[in-house]
């Protein structure tokens, strides 16, 4: 047992991933912040399959894929339904009422993994996993339209070992709409004012000093960092076709194995790379 957080060496370790198939209802009914072009479902599925394929095939994770639920157009964005850290999983209460039922399937699959499950049952609490940034040392919780103070409190109660700081999120869906971890001590951050402001807040709140990787595009700042024993630092980031300038920034990361992933379709309904999976590191089978 690695112990508390295990230090930065263990950050990004991952054995399992939970994903969920796309429902067709996604195209028309998925929530979106602003109207825009319609989702090409076939293309969305292809992209998603590629994504799952990378996790399963290329990175060797055990991928648990939940079936799509047509009554839940946003159900593919599993990240929002649970926050998993070490052996504990917090099943959330998503901010959008239409998404509340998404957690049921999530809870079941997490139970099957023998995690300590904590459910957010407080009716005053809302929390989307997309607002939760775990840095390996602490949590930042974006206070957005989807996540409120009470939700953050419950998260803090669930993960008592870690500091949980709140970061107001304006002009973005989630905290992780413009940032994510790109390495053990590295925060990828977008260039927008909202992103930079949030970063400042996080820096002030933290006892640790993080390196930052600033990318021109907010959406590109959402990437997935993994630490895979046989491969070392792995970074899934948005494809150069989508965000060429940001991709160039990622390409400067020499120590990382870079895997560009296109996400053009889900992007239209505010889906980002991290949205589509819950990553779990099972160190023991209890």
């Amino acid at each position: 047992m690695a112990g508390l957080g295990g230090g930065s060496a263990a950050f990004g370790r991952c054995t399992h991933a939970v994903v969920r198939a796309l429902p067709e209802s996604l195209c028309r009914q998925a929530l979106r912040r602003a109207p825009g072009p319609e989702v090409d479902f076939a293309r969305a599925e292809r992209e998603h399959q590629l994504y799952v394929g990378v996790l399963r095939g290329k990175l060797g994770l055990q991928v648990l894929e939940l079936p799509a639920d047509e009554s839940l157009p946003d159900c593919a964005f599993v990240e929002d339904a649970a926050v998993v850290c070490e052996e504990t999983a917090l099943v959330t209460r998503p901010g959008a009422p239409s998404r509340r039922k998404e957690v049921e399937a999530m809870k079941r699959v997490l139970e099957s993994l023998n995690l300590n499950i904590v459910e957010m049952i407080d009716e005053n609490a809302t929390l989307d996993g997309g607002d939760v940034l775990f840095t390996g040392r602490e949590f930042f919780v974006g206070l957005s339209r989807r996540t409120n103070q009470r939700g953050a409190e419950i998260l803090a109660d669930t993960f008592k070992d870690y500091a949980v700081s709140t970061v107001p999120v304006h002009d973005a869906l989630h905290l992780k709409s413009f940032c994510s971890m790109a390495g053990p001590n590295l925060i990828a951050i977008g260039s927008s004012e909202a992103a930079q402001k949030a970063l400042k807040t996080m820096q002030q709140m933290s006892d640790h000093r993080y390196d930052k990787l600033t990318v021109p595009d907010d959406a590109a700042a959402n990437c997935i960092y993994l630490n895979i024993p046989s491969k070392g630092h792995v970074l899934l980031h948005r494809a150069p076709e989508e965000y060429p300038e940001s991709a160039k920034v990622f390409e400067k990361l020499k120590d990382h194995m870079l895997i560009p992933i296109a996400n053009t379709e889900l992007d239209k309904v505010d889906g980002s790379l991290t949205c589509c999976s819950v990553l779990i590191n099972k160190t023991s089978e209890l």
Binding site: G3, L4, E86, E153, D161, Y162, V164, S165, P168, Q204
Partner: protein, 843 residues
């Protein structure tokens, strides 16, 4: 010997009596035993109990006047602990309020009730315990953390509870033994506030995986995990933000953390904080402007009460000093009539203690691990530091000579020399760096809690402390890497002209700065002793003065007449940078003290200190010639320039205030302006006049007191990091003035009488002779709402030699006073005892 009694009556006094610190000696405590016995042979001792981290209890008898350091050293010796700077002694008041015992102050000044019970605890949690030198230190840290965790003070997750618990088992029981360690062996231990069967199973399971770890290794693993907990080493204080929302302020090695419920909502790293202060129940931090901001902002928090604010402030000062500084800061000069706490952390900093620890060179001490058992389980008081036990018993808890003699028998020659050196000079012994450091601390930490300075004793305590440690330990102690500059060195930094000026002033004022003088040089021994006495006399003034914003001024005459003039000038707090316009401070006319601490302005503080020295200090004097000093002081060359300077600044501020501050205070400001112009001359004249009337019977004087330039603090309260940028930072105006305004004239009071500061209506002094000399001073004062309050102060001088039973005499005096004024209550009794300058250290 002289006994002074002050009786005072309150008629429906509405002023909130927020307990004025620990300064006033309440009647209840005037038991005969509080009067030091004449006989030096008979030293009163008090039994102390200290709860140790392993659940055992250590008790010892301490001299009643012993300083905190004495007890702390005894405890550390008992524990065989060398790296002791991380630890401290706690005492509780009102069951829940924990206070750190200040090593540099007398215990009895800090803990108000008997019995003396303390808890030995970690005070500064080392951020990286692996850097501690000795396993025994880590062990005590583990014990503390186990307690913190089991009590819920240090929250952790289920998994962490289990993991830490398993290391505890490994450290206490060794490898898991399936034979011996049956199912319920774990239930003996408490790992978590709510320990479940499931957790115990998990602990047992993990315990098995630690096979082969030594206890020390298990402790280290424990600490490596515990130190990462987010609340590790965070000292939490309840507070409210500006909107009255409950928050918590957490002080830690890195700075100040703000929590709302469990969430961190802001954080101020020490480098961001420019100043920490408190006033009444408010706690303020001034923070550096953020990148694009222009102004510093001051953030205020409301604490439950004044004491809580002060406690938080102290903890901040200590943490900042311990973790951020290489060596402790010099506190502001102890001087009278200066408001604000002069408290500074006087121990070693982490940097110093680490360096010193590097020099520890002893075989790892043996210690028994007995704790971590369930809290309920009672343990007998098996001592841990067995090796020191016999030694310990040889040192009686009596201070002074007797102890010293014994030490000589036991200790090495070098040690004895040291002690001798100390005795020779009486006030200022030959100092090792360590001694100096400690002494500085003592002298400096004068604080508002004006204690009766007893430098001689301090020395003895120190010596005793020094001497009673083994040779090895002594090396350790002496290895303090950076001796703090003493006063002389310090002064060398400042401009020469100022120096002379300052020193001259010091002389002229005599006792005013006597206390701080005491540590300045060794060839001033005689002065020191004498001044020490006066300082003691002055103390009761400081009692009042230091804690009030009103700045009560007291003038006294030779014959013991005390005329207390409460005047309401704005006293500024202690340490303000020279560019004071940008600093913040405010005053409200409340009986409160303030404390300020500026972490980063050491250079500037030099200047400030000088400036402060130029402040005129007033205090009651023992002798006629001292009164001369009082008279001349204001006129002295030293004062003229600075005073003008302060006037100017004051006016500036006042003007500022007039603009930025609510109108209600405007008239006050104006008044102040006038007063500033006039006060000096008038004050002197009147003072002189007053002083010369030594024995006037009924000389009612009507004293008009001006209101202090009350400046309302702009309470910019931001507790949320994110809102911070939006807040335009209003400077909290400071009034850095030196306005001790006394106008002795008929009560032509213009409008501002409503202030809660009160108006003196009359003050009369009657001196009568009886067995003892009694001086009675009647002061009638207007307080809020037209209610008047009469205070009678009696000063009784009992002269005689050892044959007189002073206790008896005092009791008699109090009784008489009660009989004379049956409708009044005795609120304060100050006893000052003065003896010939004999050999005894006891005053």
């Amino acid at each position: 010997m002289e006994v002074e009694k002050v009786a005072k009556e309150k008629e429906e006094k509405q002023t909130e009596k927020e307990k004025r610190e620990t300064k006033e000696v309440q009647t209840a405590e005037i038991k005969p035993e509080s009067i030091p016995q004449k006989s030096p042979k008979k030293i009163k001792t008090v039994q102390c109990k200290v709860m140790l981290l392993d659940g055992t209890e250590y008790s010892c008898d301490l001299e009643k006047r012993a300083k905190g350091q004495v007890l702390f050293d005894k405890v550390c010796e008992h524990l065989n602990l060398l790296e002791k700077d991380y630890f401290g002694l706690l005492f509780y008041e009102n069951s829940d309020q924990k206070n750190w015992l200040d090593s540099s102050k007398e215990i009895k000044r800090q803990i108000r009730s008997l019995p003396w019970i303390f808890t030995f605890n970690v005070k500064f949690y080392p951020p990286d315990p692996s850097q501690l030198t000795e396993d025994i230190t880590r062990y005590f840290l583990c014990l503390q953390l186990r307690q913190d965790i089991a009590s819920g003070r240090l929250p952790c997750s289920f998994v962490t509870h289990a993991l830490l618990g398993s290391y505890t088992l490994q450290a206490e029981l060794g490898d898991h033994d399936p034979e011996e360690h049956r199912s319920d062996y774990i239930s003996e231990f408490q790992f978590a506030p709510n320990q479940t069967q499931e957790m115990e199973e998990k602990v047992a399971e993990l315990h098995k995986t630690h096979r082969g770890l030594t206890p020390a290794q298990a402790d280290s693993q424990f600490l490596e995990n515990a130190k990462r907990l987010s609340m590790y080493g965070v000292d939490l204080h309840h507070a409210k933000d500006s909107e009255g929302v409950d928050i918590m302020l957490g002080v830690c090695a890195n700075g100040l953390l703000i929590y709302k419920d469990r969430l961190r909502i802001n954080r101020f790293a020490w480098p961001k904080i420019l100043k920490i202060s408190y006033k009444r129940s408010n706690f303020y931090i001034k923070v550096r402007p953020a990148e694009l901001e222009q102004f510093e902002s001051t953030i205020g928090f409301k604490l439950p009460n004044h004491r809580a604010a002060k406690r938080l402030w102290k903890v901040c000062v200590e943490h900042h000093t311990f973790f951020r500084l290489v060596s402790p800061e010099q506190p502001p000069k102890a001087k009278f009539l200066t408001l604000g706490s002069k408290f500074r952390y006087s121990g070693r900093t982490q940097a110093q203690t680490r360096q010193a620890s590097n020099l520890i060179d002893r075989p790892a001490p043996y210690f028994e691990r007995t704790s971590s058992k369930r809290v309920s389980r009672s343990l007998d008081g098996a001592p841990m530091g067995i090796s020191d036990q016999s030694l310990l018993r040889d040192f009686p808890a009596t201070g002074g000579q007797a102890a010293g003699d014994k030490i000589i028998d036991i200790e090495a020659a070098g040690q004895a020399k040291l002690r001798e050196g100390g005795r020779e000079e009486d006030g200022s012994p030959v100092k090792t760096p360590q001694l100096e450091l400690t002494q500085d601390g003592k002298v400096e930490s004068e604080e508002e809690e004006a204690q009766q300075k007893d430098l001689d004793k301090t020395q003895d305590d120190l010596l005793k402390h020094q001497a009673s440690i083994s040779e090895l330990k002594r090396n350790f102690m002496e290895s303090t890497p950076e001796p703090r500059p003493n006063e002389w060195e310090k002064r060398r930094i400042t401009p020469l002209s100022l120096q002379t000026q300052g020193r001259h002033a010091t002389r002229a004022e005599g006792p005013c700065t006597g206390v701080s003088d005491a540590d300045k040089s060794s060839h001033e021994t005689l002065d020191i002793v004498e001044e020490k006495k006066q300082a003691e006399v002055g103390i009761e003034e400081t009692l009042v003065v230091d804690e009030t914003n009103k700045g009560k001024m007291q003038v006294a005459t030779d014959a013991g007449e005390t005329c207390k003039v409460e005047h309401l000038s704005k006293k500024d707090s202690s340490s303000l940078p020279s560019d004071s316009s940008s600093s913040s401070s405010s005053s409200e006319s409340e009986d409160e003290e303030v404390g300020e601490y500026q972490p980063h302005h050491r250079g500037i503080e030099e200047v400030i200190r000088e400036e402060q020295e130029e402040e005129e200090d007033m205090k009651r004097k023992e002798h006629e010639e001292k009164i001369q000093h009082v008279e001349t002081t204001p006129e002295g060359s030293k004062l003229n320039v600075p005073v003008e300077h302060t006037q100017v600044t004051a006016e500036d501020f006042v003007q500022e205030n007039a603009v930025t501050i609510a109108t209600e205070e405007k008239n006050l400001s104006e008044e102040i302006k006038q007063d500033l112009g006039e006060e000096k001359e008038e004050e002197q004249l009147k003072l002189n006049g007053d002083v010369s009337h030594v024995d006037i019977d009924v000389a009612p004087q009507i004293i008009c007191c001006s209101e202090p330039p009350v400046v309302k603090t702009e309470m910019v309260t931001i507790s949320d990091a994110t809102q911070r940028t939006e807040i335009s930072t209003k400077e909290v105006p400071i009034v850095q003035t030196e306005t001790k305004t006394i106008t002795y004239e008929s009560p032509q009071f213009d409008g501002s009488a409503g202030g809660n500061a009160g108006v003196l209506l009359s003050a009369q002094t009657i001196t009568s002779e009886s067995i003892s000399t009694t001086t009675t001073t009647h002061i009638t004062k207007m307080v809020k709402g037209g209610v008047s309050e009469t205070r009678i102060e009696k000063r009784i001088v009992i002269t005689g030699d050892a044959d007189i039973d002073h206790d008896e005499a005092l009791a008699q005096a109090i009784k008489e006073a009660k009989e004379q004024h049956p409708d009044m209550s005795v609120t304060r009794v100050v006893v000052h005892k003065e003896t010939e300058l004999a050999e005894e250290d006891e005053e």
